[in-house]
Symmetry: D2
Subunit: 214 residues, 4 copies
C-alpha cells in the first residue's frame, strides 16, 4: 500500500510533515510520500522522505515562463508527480505530454480521475497509476472506499481492462487506518490523502493511525 | 464512409457550402455533414444537410454566460458535435462532461485526438467515434493516410482494444478522393476535412471529387 | 438607461423573451437588448429586438474550431457583445483582442469587471462601456446598487478617471424598477440583468416593471 | 535601472546564473534580479541575489493542488514576482488576485503587457511596475527599444496617465548594454531579459556588458 500525502496549499510546515512522514515510513515499512508546493520540493526532499510534485507541465526545456518543468522538479529531488488532480485539471493532450515529460526524467506518475470511465481513459495513456477521486467526496472526511465502494471496484476493473500494469489508488475522504484498509480490500494499492494529515495537529500521529492496519 | 466538413472560422459562406454538401450527399448517397460556427447552425440546418456543432460545453442549463449549451445547439438543428479538436482542446473531465451533454440531447459525437494513445483514452469515454489527427499534418494538404499510415492503423487497433463499437475517423491533410480511399483502406470509417472544401473556389466540385471513389 | 438582458444558459425560450423585450422597448422608448446563446442569435435578431452576443473570441478569420467569430455573430444579427463576464473570464490580452474583433465588425461592447480597479483596467482598453458586477452578488436578488452603492460610485469615478467616454453599467442582483432607479442615481447609465427576466413566469411583466421608473 | 533576468525553462544552471548576477550586482551597484522556476527559488535565493518568481497564483492558503502560492514563494526567499508574462497570460481578475496575493506577503510585482493600452490597464490594478513586451519581438534579439521606440514612450505615457507611481520596464529582444541604454533614454526604469543571459556561454560576461553603460 502506498500512502501519498498531498500538502496542497495548506498552511502547514512542509518540512515538519515530511519529517513525520519519513519517520513513519521508516518505522512501519510502509511506503509514504509527501507532495508539497514546487517551491518546497528541495526542502522536503532533503528530509529523506519520498517526494512528489503536485504537477508538472507538458513541456520540454525552452521559452516557457511560469511553468513547472519536469527536469527542475527532478533536480529538486522529486521522485514522482501527481497529474490532473481535480484542483488542477489538464487537457487530454496535456496529460499525455506531462506523462512524457515525467517519464523523460524518471518521475513516477499518478493520474487522477473522477470516475471509472475517466480512470480507463487515463490508464490508456500509460501512467504508473491512476487515482479515482469522486469530486463530491474530496475534503469531506467521508471516504470513497465506504461512501461509494463500487466506484473503487469499478475503477480497478476499468483500469485492468485497458492496461493491467497500471495501479489504482483511491482518494477523496480518506483519513483513518480503517479507510485505508477498506480501500485495500476493494483492490486499491495506494491512497491519496491531504487534509487528514496536512491539517492535523499532530501529523505523525495521524500517519501512524493511517498505516497501523498495514 | 462519413465525410465531415469543418468550416472552422473560415471566410466562406456557410449556407453555400451546406447546400453544396447537401446536393452531393443526395446525389452520391454518401453521408456528408457540415460543421459551422454556432451562430450559423440554424441557417446551415435549414438547407437540409446533416449539421454538426464544432463544440459543446460540459454544462447543463444554468448560469453560464458565453457557453455553448447542447440543448440550444440541438434546438438550432444540429445532429452531432465535434469535441476536443486540436484547436479547441478540452480537459479530460470536460470531454466526459461534454459527451454526457451531447448524449442528453441526442447529438452524435466525435472526439479528436493526436495519436493512438489519446485515441484509446477518448474511446474509453464512450463517444460514437474518435478521430486521429496528428497536429503536425493539420492544414498541410499532406494526408495522414499517406504521410503516416501507421498512425491510422494503430488508432483503429487502439480504439478497438478499448471499445470496438467506437468508429475511427481520420483527419489532417485530407483533401482528395484518393486520400479518402486510402483512409478507408486503413480501417477508418470517416474523414474530417476543412480547408480542402471550405476554402475551395467550387466547394461542390471539391466534394464531388472527395466522394467519387466511394 | 440601457437594459441588457443576459439569457445565459437558462431554460427559457429565447424568442419569447426577445419578443417581450422588443415590445417593452417599443412601448416605453427605453433601450432594451437581449443576449442569447450564439446558436440563438439569428432567431432573436429576427424579432427586431437589439441583440447582443454573450462573448466573442479574440480572433480573425482562420483555422479556429469551436470559436465564436465576431464576423459570424454580426452576420447573425448581433449589435453588441458582452466580454469578460464573471462566468466567462478572459485574459487581459484576450479582452484587448476581442474588443478589436468587435470593433472590426461594428459591435458595441461592454466589458464586465468585479470591482472599481478592474473597471479602470477595462476602461483603459477602450470599450463602449464597462459593467461592475461584484461576484458575491450575482444571482442573489440583492442589487449591487443597494447592497454596496459605493462600489457603483467608485466604478463610475474610476472609469471616468481613465476615459470619461466609457459608460458604466451596473449588474449583479438587479431585478426591479427600483433597483434600476437607484443604479441610475449612482451614475450608471445601464443595467445588466439575467434571472430576473429570463426565469420570470411573465418576462414581459418583469421588463415592464424594470423600465417603469425610467 | 533594474535588470531582471528571466530563466524561463531554459537548460541553464540556475545557481550559476544567480551567482554571476549577484557578483555583477555587487561589483556594479546595479540592481540585478534572477527569476528561476519555482522549484529553484530556494537555491537561487541562497546565493544572495535578488530572487523573483516567474508567477504566483491568485490564491490564499487552501485546497489548491499544483498551484504556486505567494506564501511559499516568499518563504523560499523570493523578493518579487512577474505576472502575466506573454508565456503565462492571466485573466484580468487573476492579475488583480495575484497582485493581492503578492502584496499580502511583500513581494514586488511587475505585470507584463503587449502594448500601451494593456500597459494602462495593468497600471490601473496597482502593481509596482509594468513591462511592455511586444510579443512579436520576444526572443528575437531585436530590442523593442530600437525596433519600436514609440511603443516604449507610449507605454511610459499610458502608465503615467493612469498612475504615475507605477514604473515601466521594457522587455523583448534586450541583450546588450546598448539596448539597456536606449531603453533608459525612452523612459524605462528597468529591463526584462532572458535568453541573452540565460543561454549565454558566459552569463557573467553577458551581464557585465548589460550593466556597463549604467
Amino acid at each position: 500500500m502506498f500512502v501519498l500525502v498531498n500538502l496542497k496549499a495548506y498552511p502547514c510546515d512542509p518540512v515538519e510533515v515530511a519529517e513525520a512522514a519519513h519517520e513513519v515510513a521508516e518505522e512501519s515499512g510502509v511506503r509514504v510520500a509527501v507532495a508539497p508546493q514546487a517551491a518546497d520540493l528541495r526542502a522536503v526532499a532533503e528530509t529523506g522522505v519520498e517526494t512528489w510534485a503536485q504537477h508538472v507541465d507538458p513541456l520540454a526545456h525552452g521559452s516557457h515562463t511560469g511553468s513547472t518543468l519536469a527536469e527542475r522538479v527532478a533536480d529538486a529531488g522529486a521522485d514522482g508527480t501527481l497529474l490532473n488532480h481535480s484542483e488542477r485539471r489538464l487537457k487530454l493532450a496535456e496529460i499525455d505530454g506531462s506523462l512524457s515529460a515525467a517519464e523523460r526524467v524518471g518521475l513516477d506518475t499518478v493520474v487522477c480521475a473522477n470516475n471509472p470511465e475517466q480512470v480507463a481513459a487515463a490508464a490508456a495513456l500509460g501512467p504508473d497509476a491512476v487515482a479515482v477521486e469522486p469530486p463530491e467526496l474530496i475534503g469531506t472526511g467521508t471516504p470513497v472506499s465506504k461512501a461509494d465502494p463500487d466506484v473503487v471496484t469499478d475503477a480497478v476493473e476499468a483500469a485492468a481492462a485497458v492496461d493491467d500494469s497500471v495501479d489504482v489508488y483511491c482518494g477523496a475522504g480518506i483519513s483513518t487506518g480503517d479507510d485505508v484498509e477498506s480501500a485495500a480490500e476493494l483492490g486499491a494499492t495506494g491512497v491519496l490523502l491531504a487534509s487528514g494529515v496536512a491539517k492535523a495537529d499532530d501529523p505523525k500521529a495521524a500517519l501512524e493511525d493511517l498505516v497501523e492496519p498495514l
